[in-house]
């Protein structure tokens, strides 16, 4: 059978299963609604249910195609068995014929563009690297494994569970098509909502404002999750609006499921739960109805969806919300310093100097923030005119709440959760101006079509560029297409061809891991990866080398413990100790098995200060603070008169004191400050660094020409004791000898 068939089959099976599960849920709750409306809500609620089923199967090691197909079969059979006769449902208020035709024509044109792009081989940066990289791994390993070297594995992966279901049949493009299904369903749900509440024509325009937005089209046709989040949040809003009207508390169950599912798809949608609780509580208070049962129902349903992800992280990583809040939940897998730098980058994206440039960058620029929502949204302030209408007010409140996390990540696609609400509010605002909405839709459609986009956005803007029909249908083979458009793909295939299945690779740059079955640890993606990178950078950067000493001298004293304490603070400096040596009479005391070492913070790496390696060091991995310490418990009384810290110069603010626990069990300061020394440079650092990497189980290094130190790896591979294996498109693979 042709590959295109399986791609479509994988996506269709997944979508049908979502619809079937949603229909079963709504039948079970006896929720009917209007004809032409419930299908969208059932799809989103069913997606939430399917995600939970796949999560359970992956936990049980049953992530297999046969099992998924059985689930699909049972769900569809159940939905057919207990189907609801449509005839009993009332119709939604009709849309004028012309509006229907216009909406249908524009929707169909862009739907084709989106479906073709989603079906083309997946090579989006995040989609092919971690969204599907992890999905592919779960499928190979038939479920979850404890992954500590990839922080992306710690994010909630609600949509990835649906991807996994589709991937089992149709691989990468089937997953992207599942996301595209959310992109197609969202505007239809928006239109249904508007029709139900009496502003169908404005709703049609608003739905298209969202649907045609270039960033929605690009994101929703890749294996990302932002459009799905936007769609789920809108579905939640829609359900709550129905509940507000009908006061049927059974609606709070799917609403709760969707609120929890929003969090399960993406952490940044965490406000869905407090929003839903707030809306329901507000309405109940105003109606003087009891709060407890409805709120408990809603919260419990949300918890069912969100809790598995929190529990998985709590059990495996010691941090339920990893990779965030590592200062609150200290763990060895993600450094506090990384989280701080990452968050800072996401707030500014490196290149954006001022928030004042964001409106233009996100509407017509796109080069710095990853795409555009389209010039139409320069009119966003007009949406405030929708405050005249109760629905406008509620749309804008929801938009403000769901858009709030944008301040933490100013990438254009992070505006997507806000976009459905803003789009409808904008359309409502101009509903009384005859013909304006049609003009706006037409202009938006023209400005959003790929050929027009190319004329005004940055060449680096993330966007759909064309209609790759031959690639979508696999008339152009997938391999050929990917080799043509993705240099990262070549690196992934290089690894696949040259690295034995059991060996692991360390890379400094993210690659499309979805296209290799080998395990690739990317340096920045985990604390362990950062540590390995630190080892390898030490020979290349003099400031990381142990060329400074700090000597603490004190009268010879029998001691139980010694503790070097940090007394200074610094915003960007980290404290580090390459080696801590204890001496008596000028001779170093042997470190024996009775010694017990402690550190605060980052206790997990304390041994790195006691291993005699010039390239490994204990680091605080957070800004210097008073009270940080390194401690040696001798396990008995031990006489000493000197402590020597060997350290790197990259800690300008550090200031240390030496404390000791004497025979009487009393802590006292042995030296208030150390005497600075200059230590001789060490040789053989490259070899020592590679030996540490090898010790951690890494057998290969992947170095891109743009990576720091690439020239040194290539020029001095003999010194590193690594062997160049092969090179492809600027990616060099080295084997560690």
């Amino acid at each position: 059978m042709p590959q295109a068939f399986y791609i479509l089959l994988g996506a269709m099976v997944t979508v049908l299963t979502c619809l079937a599960l949603g229909a079963l849920l709504f039948r079970r709750l006896a929720l009917t609604g209007h004809r032409g409306e419930m299908i969208w809500l059932e799809f989103f609620a069913g997606a939430a249910c399917l995600h939970l089923i796949v999560f359970a199967l992956a936990t049980a090691g049953l992530a297999r195609k046969g099992v998924f197909l059985a689930v699909a079969g049972l769900a569809v059979a159940g939905a057919l068995r207990w189907r609801d006769p449509l005839a009993r449902r009332p119709r939604l208020p009709a849309l004028p014929r012309l509006a229907t035709a216009l909406f249908g024509a524009v929707f169909a044109m862009f739907a084709v563009l989106y479906l073709v792009n989603a079906m083309a081989p997946e090579y989006s940066p995040d989609g092919s690297s971690y969204h599907l990289g992890l999905v592919a791994r779960y499928y190979r390993e038939h479920g979850f494994r404890r992954i500590t070297n990839n922080m992306y594995a710690n994010l909630s992966q609600g949509l990835e569970m649906l991807f996994l279901f589709a991937y089992s049949v149709g691989r990468h493009s089937a997953a992207a098509l599942v996301h595209c299904a959310f992109l197609l369903a969202a505007p239809l749900a928006m239109l249904s909502y508007a029709r139900r509440f009496g502003f169908g024509r404005a709703g049609a325009a608003g739905a298209l404002f969202f649907f045609l937005s270039p960033v929605a089209g690009r994101d929703g046709t890749a294996a990302y999750n932002d459009v799905a989040v936007a769609a789920v949040l809108f579905a939640l809003f829609y359900l709550l609006e129905i509940w507000r009207e009908e006061q049927n508390d059974r609606l709070l169950i799917p609403a709760g499921l969707l609120a929890g599912f929003a969090f399960a798809v993406k952490y940044t949608a965490f406000l869905a739960v407090p929003y839903a609780l707030g809306v329901v509580a507000w309405k109940l208070v105003r109606m003087r109805r009891p709060l407890l049962k409805p709120l408990a129902t809603l919260a419990l349903a949300a918890l069912v969806m969100a809790a598995p992800w929190l529990a998985k992280n709590a059990l495996w990583l010691g941090n339920p919300v990893s990779p965030f809040f590592n200062a609150v939940f200290p763990n060895p897998h993600v450094h506090v310093s990384f989280e701080r730098d990452y968050a800072r980058y996401m707030r500014h994206f490196g290149e954006v100097e001022s928030y004042a440039s964001v409106p233009l960058e996100t509407t017509v620029g796109g080069g710095k923030l990853g795409g555009v929502v389209g010039p139409l949204f320069l009119l966003a302030p007009l949406a405030l005119l929708a405050l005249r209408y109760p629905h406008g007010r509620r749309l804008l409140v929801a938009g403000v709440v769901f858009g709030a996390p944008y301040l933490a990540n100013i990438g254009t696609r992070f505006l997507l959760p806000l976009l459905p609400f803003l789009s409808l509010a904008l359309a409502l605002a101009v509903r009384n101006s005859r013909g304006v909405a049609v003009l706006l839709v037409a202009a938006h459609a023209l400005a959003s079509w790929p050929a027009a986009l190319a004329a005004y956005v940055s060449p680096y803007a993330w966007r759909l560029a064309d209609l790759p029909l031959e690639a979508a249908l696999r008339i152009e083979p997938e391999e050929h297409f990917l080799r043509r458009v993705s240099s990262g793909y070549l690196a992934a295939r290089l690894i696949e061809e040259q690295v034995p299945p059991s060996d692991r690779v360390l890379a400094f740059t993210q690659i499309p891991e979805a296209y290799t079955s080998r395990q690739v640890a990317v340096a920045f993606q985990s604390a362990h990866g950062e540590l390995l990178r630190d080892f390898l950078l030490t020979p290349l950067i003099p400031d990381l080398q142990p060329v400074e000493g700090l000597r603490f001298r004190f009268p010879e004293t029998p001691l139980r413990r010694l503790r070097v304490v940090q007394t200074a603070s610094g915003e960007s400096d980290q404290w580090s100790v390459t080696e801590l040596r204890v001496l008596r009479g000028g001779r170093e005391l042997a470190r024996d098995g009775r010694w017990r070492l402690r550190a605060h913070p980052n206790r997990w790496d304390v041994q790195l200060a006691f291993d005699n390696s010039p390239v490994t060091r204990w680091r605080s991995w957070r800004a210097i603070e008073p009270g940080m310490f390194l401690e040696v418990d001798f396990g008995r009384l031990e006489s000493a008169d000197e402590v020597l810290l060997e350290r790197s110069p990259d800690q300008y603010k550090a200031h240390n004191r030496l404390d000791g626990l004497d025979a009487s069990g009393r802590w006292r300061t042995l030296a208030a400050a150390g005497e600075p020394l200059t230590l001789p440079k060490k040789s053989g650092l490259r070899r020592a660094a590679v030996e540490e990497v090898k010790r951690s189980g890494i057998k290969y290094l992947l170095v891109f020409d743009e990576d720091f130190g690439a020239g040194d790896f290539l020029g001095n591979f003999g010194l590193w004791r690594i062997k160049p294996v092969s090179e492809r498109a600027g990616a060099r693979l080295y084997r560690i000898d």
Partner: protein, 174 residues
């Protein structure tokens, strides 16, 4: 009941992973012997290993964290694992301030005392030299010397110090 208890204990143990407070000293690493271990085929002047490569004629101070001044006859040594297809590379610059005094500079590039190339530089600015080394000129596993000999250098009117090139990187690539 026992089974449930075992599962609960298992989960609790997983949850406690990484909660150990004390660690024993790690296995001590053996020192890497021999300074020659650092001598490679190519070196950037900011690297600590650059000192090992410099046989003479290059200042010991790294300027702006990147480059060093040379004198009239900077000499560097390198080791190559394989001489086949090797090319001498040198990234350097001629400073406008020194050029104002010296005018055009001719540099002779020698490998193991054999003249590889002679280039006249008529203007200040950044330069990149890359030239294949004829077979048999390099000795794999031994020290190989590279000399860049300048026909004229800037002489400081204050202290008579000689400044030649701004050297960033040199060595052999394949």
């Amino acid at each position: 009941m026992m089974r449930r208890l075992a599962i609960a204990c298992g989960l609790a143990m997983m949850g406690c992973a990484g909660r150990q407070n004390f660690y024993a000293p790690a296995e001590a690493r053996r020192p890497i012997e021999g300074a020659a271990a650092e001598l490679g085929a190519v070196v950037a002047m900011y690297e600590p290993a650059a000192d090992l490569h410099i046989a003479g004629g290059v200042d010991h101070l790294v300027q702006a964290g990147q480059w060093r001044w040379t004198g009239r006859r900077p000499t560097l040594r390198f080791r190559v694992a394989n001489a086949e297809g090797a090319r001498l590379v040198m990234d350097f610059a001629i400073a406008a301030t020194t050029f104002a005094q010296t005018g055009p500079v001719t540099v002779s590039f020698l490998v193991n005392d054999r003249l590889l190339d002679r280039v006249r530089y008529d203007a200040p600015g950044e330069e990149h030299l890359e030239k294949p080394v004829p077979p048999g000129w390099l000795r794999p596993g031994s020290d190989n010397f590279v000399v860049a000999e300048l026909d004229r250098v800037f002489v400081s009117p204050k202290d008579g110090a000689e400044l030649g090139l701004i050297l960033s990187r040199a060595g052999f690539v394949r």
